[in-house]
Each structure stands twice: as structure tokens, then as C-alpha cells.
Symmetry: D2
Subunit: 341 residues, 4 copies
């Protein structure tokens, strides 16, 4: 049994971890923290039968665990990660604090000072399918944002193998509301979201763009740039990205589907659709799957459509997938019912 | 032109008044207040093209209006109503402060002290179809709550004419989320409400029960009592009440439909359904209509199903209907497209 | 491995079985039938990665399975059940064909002739928590309807132990839209259901009432009667029942919670809420759980609020729970992540 | 009073016309047709109090009306339009039959033969803000599709004035479900749409692309081409288009907002948002408004975000706006409460 702790267990991603651990045969949840709800139980905060007492971050018994999961806001995460890291605990962080390899990029996009820049060199970007080997041995995994996971797994094959003919990539992304977290905000109220659909932070304004461009440039060259337009969907879960790219001559939807199927062969959580089918949220919600599909829009113009569940493959599911990898387990353990058959 | 002001214009009911006044041919909106957003414009707070500057309550020019609309929380409303009342302005209040004729009942249910009990004697309960004559001459109208309007207009004919055989009335009510207001609360977040359905304050716990019983007892006798079970529906607008009553011998659905059609004949906003049809939210949302229908459940057991839009007939629409009545206008003015044809 | 077949695999309940079997460690799915989609694959009909070819009912190799699951419409189910039964296959039927022990009651409510009345004597009503011993040895299990499961598990403790003071029970029930099945009907269109809420078949009109009364009368006496008012909720999954009962003197919410907790102690899928909490869909959707809670509405007047997922505990989940029971497996196998912790 | 008739009154757009005419002070609805529901009343088909008998198309008294509204499917519309046209009735058609000026383009995209090509020369494309003068005198107005109206009003100022630096325009569009009509189809079922989000007919596959390109090429030159990616949103009403364009040097969001505000000055139904605000469905649903907004995504890369209600400005509202124009009325009559203030 792997002994684990959760920092920040009461948000949607922390609660998702609790649910996964409840069915994971090799995990023992040693503690779960909450600054605001310490002393309460997860069953007081969510409609569930789980009995998980909540303690303050400060009270977390780091010496009793092997791996810690961090579902804290950026800026808050860094100090607890450092403490755990220094205690010899392996760290799987979902905040943005260790995703950007360049500290100045982080400080610019997040408008703050980084308080553990010395750890950045040890952090591995936790996009499982791309960085599997590094993640397996990592002591600190910085799990990607939900939007980046959805865009990057769609772009990776084409970018990595230099099949783009234009340096301009357009990602028109649509996310369910759980991506905004559980904090009470007027913009997340039911009446404000239901029956509406709205763009926000479009162009070059959303922080997840920094991650997306970091990876795309790493894989394909510094000249690549991304236009990113996120929108808020009136659904609980799921992200769908419609991605517009210009490819080198000779591609077709058929060839794309084959190329992706080959490249992602054996991946338990990647579902490549055949020509004629397009991804939708229904393919992925409540699973750890990522789905990708293709359409042609002009001679060399193509549309990639990808989707995932923002709380699973886009967050807590990928965290657990990484933990499984780090501890030598079947990557799908605890996520089995969500494996691509 | 009737010169009007709105106190508390930035909640859902205040904004609904602004939209209605925008199309009302006999209303001039002189001012709109907001304690939290004074200095801003309604167009900054809602996705709309309306240009309505917001001022503080204190800055409201009471001498320039004939009638004031109060969409303030209970407890806050009372002092502004008194100030307006004393300035000779007719008052249409949507708070609970003047709905309960007995000050002790108010203070018990609302767990507070009433700061203008002397005005209670002048307040008319603004259930238009029942108290039309009193409303027409009133200087202070206390508009009913949304749940009470929906239950009371359904019960009035049977209770007033003493057709109930049992003193126990069960009102199983379901409301859209706008009834909870626009304040950020975790319980009103999209993810918490969407795909869920939940009861709250069931039994004898919801404050609207005090109003419902006040009226039912006034009409039918002190022995009547109500069991009230409100539920939160994942929709923006609308209340549907499923009401269980035992009637004296001899009733049928056919006879009920005829009795209600006669009793509400000529009412511009009451829609009595024929046998075989049942009320639903779609009959009423975005209109000022109230709809009522009937089913038989046993020899003398009947079910009344009624519905209205909680922001219109259950709140702002009924306020405007009352204003029209108070100023001698066609009761449907400004609400025309919502009239029963 | 238990070798199973599904008759009628392409509706929502059949597809739910396929998803459960995909994660069930002791099930081998031998075949899945569909009259309309024979020759296709489940992956052509649903957004999923599952590879399950569909064959015609007639082509089902009954000799290769130990147990058959029937998700066919009432009237259609009976002949396939008989064929399987006679071939020595154990049968778990979700249609209404074998739920009503009295053939005349069936023929009256379903307005048809029963074509295998001789099998009725062998059918066990598959309400697991109530008929566990009979189900374990049954060759034919008639799984209850979704509404009946939700109402009956809530009523069983009080009715069985004769704690009702009045013979009139009111069940105000609200169901998600998947209960209406996947057939294209105008009334199930998104635009017709979304933002609406409507009652249907209220009073004594819905066929599930026959089941509810059959069980209630069996447990508590023939004088008991039920008023049943179903409503259509704009959600995908879930049923919530608000049940109004009059009890003998001496009950409280506290005592009810204790009584139910004792009576259902050890049940893996029954979640009894403590005083102060009320059931909601969020407690149960995407799980096989049933949740029940209590409120007081008068001296001896009480409200029971219960909920379940209509496709799981209300249909396919209970079918699998029964299969586990019939084959001596852990009752929660394949449904583990949905067990009450 | 203008005497009008509706062909095809029972779909969502026909019913929307009935609701608008109910409040339009200068319209007398003489007849409404339905092939499938002749003999019934609109009140039998929709939850409303309107009393509008339905007759067969064949029975329509063309001699008693001045203008006919056609809400029939493409292919069906043409013969009834011709009959009305030849009877001297002015025609406002919502089908695709007269939108494409080139008969071969029509026949290719719609895979059918055009049965009244001689009328194409008389048809005016009913995009009110662009073709106002021609519409005013037209005897046959071909109202645009919902997607085209939303895209074209956003693109018109830039295309008409040749401010595009690239010939490639990307329109990522998202529509509510009422756009799919009221016919029972599995893909429009609540459970299939709710909590999902899916692209369809992306690339160069959707028929509305033909209209969009016809107009764009007419305004800006034949070299322009459009990539069009429609998606299905889980909402009842509304279309939002996110449009990616490359402009000539020198543009900013500020300059765009001013340019559009000037160009659309005085338009009662066009709402140009200032810098910093982005369009969303909430700006337009249940109104006849079109809203447009702007963001920068690169040096000369810009994003236009536009929205409208697909049943109003995208269909029936624009039909009535055109009728008002054709009969010399205030363009906003009957649509007043939906005017930009």
C-alpha cells in the first residue's frame, strides 16, 4: 500500500482524489488537509458517504507518507511542496507553481514572486504520455493545467514531428464550470452560467497559454505561437478544444487518424477516433480518457478536435496516473473502469 | 407618465423591473439605487444595453417620484419604505417586512425586531387577484413571496369557498435558482445545482410558510394547516407547486376546471387548464402568467398543479401589475406580451 | 467467470450494463443483442471505446451463457425470458412482465395479455435488500422499476413494522430524463425538457404505482394506498422521492434515522442520513447507492426523502447486484467504487 | 393592420412568429398552416394560452393576406412561395430555397433540383442591416440562416471595407439546440445533448457555409474563403461565433469598436460592445439583438465574438424586422422590448 496525503482536499480536484483513492486497491489515504475546514469531515462538505477527517496543512504528518498530492492555489502550493520535498516525500502538484521551467515567465504570467525557484530544476511536467520516463523517476511532478493537457496531447504528434506548415496555431477551447473551482463567485452562479455561453481571457490573456506555448516551442521550435480562446460551457465537466492548423502537403483525415493511432498505440487513456467521427464531451466525462479526432477544412487546413474530463485526465486522474507510474503500478490502477477498451 | 424609483436595483428582481420599465409606455424611471454598486451603471453589472446609473439609497430623490419599488432584503427594506411612505410616495415592497399582519409572527419567523410596526396596519398584501380593491387604493403594498403566490392562487378558490374536507394541505414546491438571489453562495454555484435536485427547509421550516398559512387561515379558518416542502430545481426561473388536498364529496377534475375558470374569469394573467392538461414551467416562464391544473388521486383526493415565473408573477411582474392597478392603468400594461390570449 | 448475455443492449439500461461488465472482474460478456442495430457495434451507437458487436435476439447463443439480462420493453421481454428460462439460463429481467404477481393486475395496468403466466410463480421481485434470500436462489428475477425501488426502500422499514397511522401514503417523485429511454420522442427533446419541469401521469395513472402498491400492501396490509405523482426533471439521471406519511405517536427525526440505520445496517448500498441532512441526487448519481433522510412536518406528520440513480440502483446496477447475489459473489463486485464507505 | 399568414407554424420558428404577432400592434394573423397538425390548435401543441387554429397548406386563403411567412423545410418551401408570389402576396421565406443566388450552388449543397429558379432573380437576401433598401421594396425576401446572420453581421464592416490581410477566415460557431428544430431525432434528445458539447459538419461541410461565402465573396472578393466549425451547445437558444481574422496593419480593439459603432450607428438591433467586454448569449437570448465584440490575439491577429438568438435575430425576429421595413413601419415594432436602448 502506498501511503498518501492530500493538501487542499476540499476543492473539486481534491474531492476527486478522495473518490479515486476510495476505489484504488494500492492506496492508503493517511491525511487530507483543508485550511478553511480543518476539524470537519469531507462528508460534511460533499454529498457522499466518505469518512475523511480534515486537518490543517500545518498538522500534516509528512513523515507518515510516501507521496503528497497538492491541490492548492498557485502561490500557496510552493511552500508546502518544498516542505514535503525536503522531508523526502515525493510530490505531485496540481498548481501552476512548477509547470513553467522559466521562473521569469512564471513571475510575469502569475504576477508574483516564485518562492522556491531552486526546485524548478527538479520538477517534471506531468503530461504522462509525453514525459513518462522522467515522471517515473521524478520526486516532483508538476501536473499540467486542464486546458494545456487537452491542447497538448492533440498537438504533440504533429508538432514533435514537424508537420506544421504555419507557425500559427489556433486553439478554440470550451470548458465546463468545475474548472473555475468551488469558491463562491458571482460568475460561477448557476443563473449566470446556465443557458449562457461566454468567452473569457481570449487572445493571449489566459495563463494556461504560457504552458501550452512552453511545450509547443520545446517540441517544435521557438517560432511557433498559439492563439488561445477559452469559453465557459454550461456543463459541470469536460473540455473540448477545436484546433486549427495548417499542415505540410499530403495529409488527409485518414492519414492523420493512422498517424495518431500509431503514435499513441498502447496508451491506456488515449482514444483516437477514426475518420468520420468527432470528439465530444460524452466520450470522456467521468473517465480518465483523452479523445482526439480530425477534419479537413481546406487543402492543407485541418481541424483537430480533442476532449477530456477537466477533473480527471485534466487534473486528478492524471495525478493518479502519474503516481501509478512513479510507484511501478499498472498506470490504470484505480482508474480501470475508465480505460480505453 | 408615472415617475418611479427602484430601491435595490441590482438583484434579479430589481433588474427584472428595469427590463419591464424599459418597455412600459407609462413609466419614467427616475432613479435606481444600489448600496454596493452606486456609481456604476446597470450595463456594467448585467449583459444588456440599458443605461441606468446607480445611486446610493441615501441619494434617492424621493420628492421626484410617485411610487417606489423596493427590492431590498427583509430588515433593510423597512426603513426606506418608512422614509418614502412619510414623503408621500406610494410604496410597493417585495421584502417580507410588511407581508405578515401580526408583528410577533414576523419577529418569530424572521428572528428580528420589526422597526416600523406602525405601518403594518396600512400595508395591503399584494396578491392582485385576491386583494384587487384594497391594492388599488393602497399607499403601501407588500408583495407576496414567490412560493406563496404560486400556492395561494391555486388554493384560494377551494379554501375561500370551504371545499376542503381535511385541514391538512400539502404543498410540494419546486423552484428555479434565481429565487436564491444573485449573492455568491456555494449552494448556488452552477456545479452544485446543475444535474442535482434537492429539498431544503422542508416541513415547517421555510419562512414563506408563514405567509401561506396566514392567508389560508384568513380565508378558510384557523384550523387549516400547511405542510410545505420546497425543492431547488436546476433551472433559472419558475416555480411549480404540486398540492395535495382532500375535498368534500362530489368533485371531479372537470368540475374543478369549471369552478376555477368561472372564479378567475376575466383575469388577464390566470390560465386555468382544461381536464387532461397539467401545468409546467414552460407555460409561464418569461411571462406574468399563473397557470393551474387538476388531477384526481382518490375518491376525494385531488392534486392541484400550479406554476408561475418566480421573477415575474412571483415578484417583479406582480409588482408592476399592482402599480398599474394603483394608477388606474390597464393591469397588463408593460406586461402585454405575457397576457393570457 | 460468469458467462452472461444481454438482450436489448442499446437502450440506456443495456449500455449501462455494458459499462459495468467492462469493469466487473468475474463477468464475461458473451453476447449483446439489438433488433434494430444487429450487425453494428456498441461503439457505433454510443461515444465510447467499447467493442461489443450486436446480434439479433434470434441469434443469441443461449447455450453458452449462465445468466441473461433482459432490457427489453414490457411485452417483448416475456417470450425471450421464457426461451432462456427453458434453456436453463438464469434470467434477470428489467421489464415489467414479471414484476406483478397477479396476472390480472398486469393485464389491466399494461393493457395487454400476458404470454407466460405460468412463469409468474417462479419470478422473484428483485428488490435486493428486501428479497435477498429468494433472489439468491431464483432462476427468474423481475427487477423493480426505478420509481418503485426509490419509494419502496424508503417505505419498507415503516410499513413492514406497521408504524403508519394513516393508510394514505403520498409519493411525490421526480425523475431525470434517461428514465424515458433513448427512443426519439418529442417530449424527450432537449428543448422540450430543458428549463422546464412538468408532472405527468399523476394521481393513480402511472404503471409503477401497481408495483408500489403490490409491495406496500404485501408488507403492511391491503388497506394501504398510495398517491403517486411523478415529475420530469431536466437532468440526465436520478430520482428523488418526497414521501408524506403519518406515523404512530412517538416518532422523531432522530428516532427515524436510528431505526433505519439499524434496519439497513450492513447494507453496502443503503446510505441513511443523520438528522439535519436531506437526500439529493448528488448523493447517488453515477453510483449504485440509495439514500434516505427524514424531516418532521407536524406532530405525527413526517417526510421521507429518498434518492437513487435510475440507471444504476434503479435499473442496471440492481440487476448486477442481484447477479452477484445469485452467483455467490460479493454483492458489490463491479460496483465497488459506488459502495457506501 | 397588415394581414399575414404563416406556412409551417408548428416548428420553433413558426411558433416564435405566433408569439411575436400576438404582441405586434399592426399585424392580424389570418391563418397558420401545418401539414401534420391541421385541425389542431397551437394551444394543443405548445404550452401556451394562444388560440390559433391550424389548417393545411392547401387550404390557405392567399387572397386574404398581404404577406406570407414561410417556415417550411428547404425543398418544400419553394412551391408554396411560388404560389403565393404569383397570387401577389409578398413573401418572407426562412428556408434555404432562395438564399443562394446561383442555382447550381444551391443544387450542389442541397443535393436537389430547384423547382422555381426563375424566382431567384427576384429574391433579396434578408440580412436587414446590409440589404435594407432592397428588402424594403422586395416581393420575395430570403431570410438568412441563423449561423450566417451571426457570422455575416460580424464580418461585414471589415470585409466590405477590405481590411482583411489574409483571405482565410475561421468561424468557430456554437449553437443552441432549437436550431435543430422540433422533429424527434435521437441526436436532439435531452440525454444526448445535456452535459455534452460536440462539433458537427466542421470544415467545409455545413450548408450554411455556402451562404456565408456567397456574401463574403460578394462584399470582399472571390479570393476570400471561410473555415466553418459549428458545435452543438446544451442550451435552448442562442448562437455565439468566435471569428479569427488577420487584419491590415494599424488596428486595435479600440479602433475596431469605434469603427463598428460608427458603421452600425442608429441600428436598433445592433449592440457593439466597448473594449474589454465580450459578447455572450446572455446579451441576446429572448431579444432580437445582435451583439459584437473584439479581442486582439497577435500583432494583426484579431478575434471577433458575436452572438444572437437563433430563433429571433437569427430567424423569426429578423423576418418580422423585414416585414416592418417592407410595410413602412418602425423596424422595431412588435420587437420593442428587445431594442438596444
Amino acid at each position: 500500500m502506498i501511503r498518501v496525503g492530500i493538501f487542499g482536499a476540499t476543492g473539486y480536484t481534491g474531492y476527486e482524489l478522495i473518490k479515486i483513492f476510495h476505489q484504488h486497491p494500492q492506496v492508503e489515504l493517511v491525511f487530507a488537509t483543508s485550511e478553511h475546514s480543518a476539524g470537519q469531515n469531507i462528508g460534511d462538505l460533499y454529498p457522499c458517504p466518505y469518512n475523511v477527517p480534515l486537518i490543517a496543512n500545518e498538522a500534516a504528518p509528512l513523515s507518515e507518507i510516501e507521496v503528497a498530492f497538492f491541490c492548492l492555489p498557485h502561490g500557496e502550493s510552493v511552500s508546502w511542496v518544498r516542505r514535503a520535498y525536503e522531508a523526502g516525500v515525493r510530490c505531485i502538484d496540481l498548481s501552476a507553481d512548477f509547470r513553467l521551467r522559466d521562473v521569469h515567465t512564471y513571475e510575469t504570467w502569475y504576477n508574483t514572486t516564485h518562492h522556491a525557484p531552486e526546485l524548478l530544476a527538479y520538477a517534471v511536467y506531468g503530461l504522462t504520455e509525453v514525459y513518462r520516463e522522467q515522471i517515473a523517476r521524478a520526486r516532483l511532478v508538476a501536473c499540467p493545467g486542464c486546458y494545456p493537457t487537452c491542447a497538448l496531447l492533440a498537438l504533440y504528434p504533429l508538432v514533435k514531428h514537424h508537420h506544421l506548415a504555419s507557425s500559427r496555431i489556433i486553439v478554440d477551447a470550451k470548458s465546463g464550470v468545475s474548472g473555475a473551482g468551488r469558491a463562491p463567485k458571482m460568475g460561477s452562479l448557476f443563473v449566470e452560467v446556465n443557458e449562457d455561453f461566454k468567452p473569457y481571457s481570449v487572445g493571449r490573456a489566459h495563463r494556461h497559454l504560457a504552458e501550452i506555448e512552453q511545450e509547443v516551442k520545446t517540441w517544435g521550435g521557438a517560432e511557433l505561437s498559439v492563439i488561445f480562446a477559452p469559453h465557459l460551457l454550461p456543463v459541470n465537466r469536460g473540455i473540448l478544444s477545436t484546433i486549427y492548423v495548417t499542415l505540410n502537403a499530403g495529409w488527409s483525415v485518414q492519414r492523420l487518424a493512422e498517424f495518431y493511432a500509431d503514435l499513441y498505440a498502447g496508451e491506456p487513456f488515449v482514444h483516437v477516433l477514426p475518420p468520420g467521427k468527432l470528439a465530444s464531451l460524452a466520450y470522456v466525462v467521468h473517465t480518465n480518457r483523452f479523445v482526439v479526432s480530425f477534419a479537413q477544412a481546406g487543402e492543407n487546413e485541418f481541424i483537430l478536435v480533442s476532449a477530456l474530463d477537466n477533473l480527471l485526465k485534466g487534473a486528478s486522474g492524471q495525478m493518479v496516473q502519474n503516481m501509478n507510474l512513479m510507484f511501478g503500478l499498472d498506470e490504470a490502477m484505480g482508474l480501470e473502469n475508465q480505460v480505453v477498451g
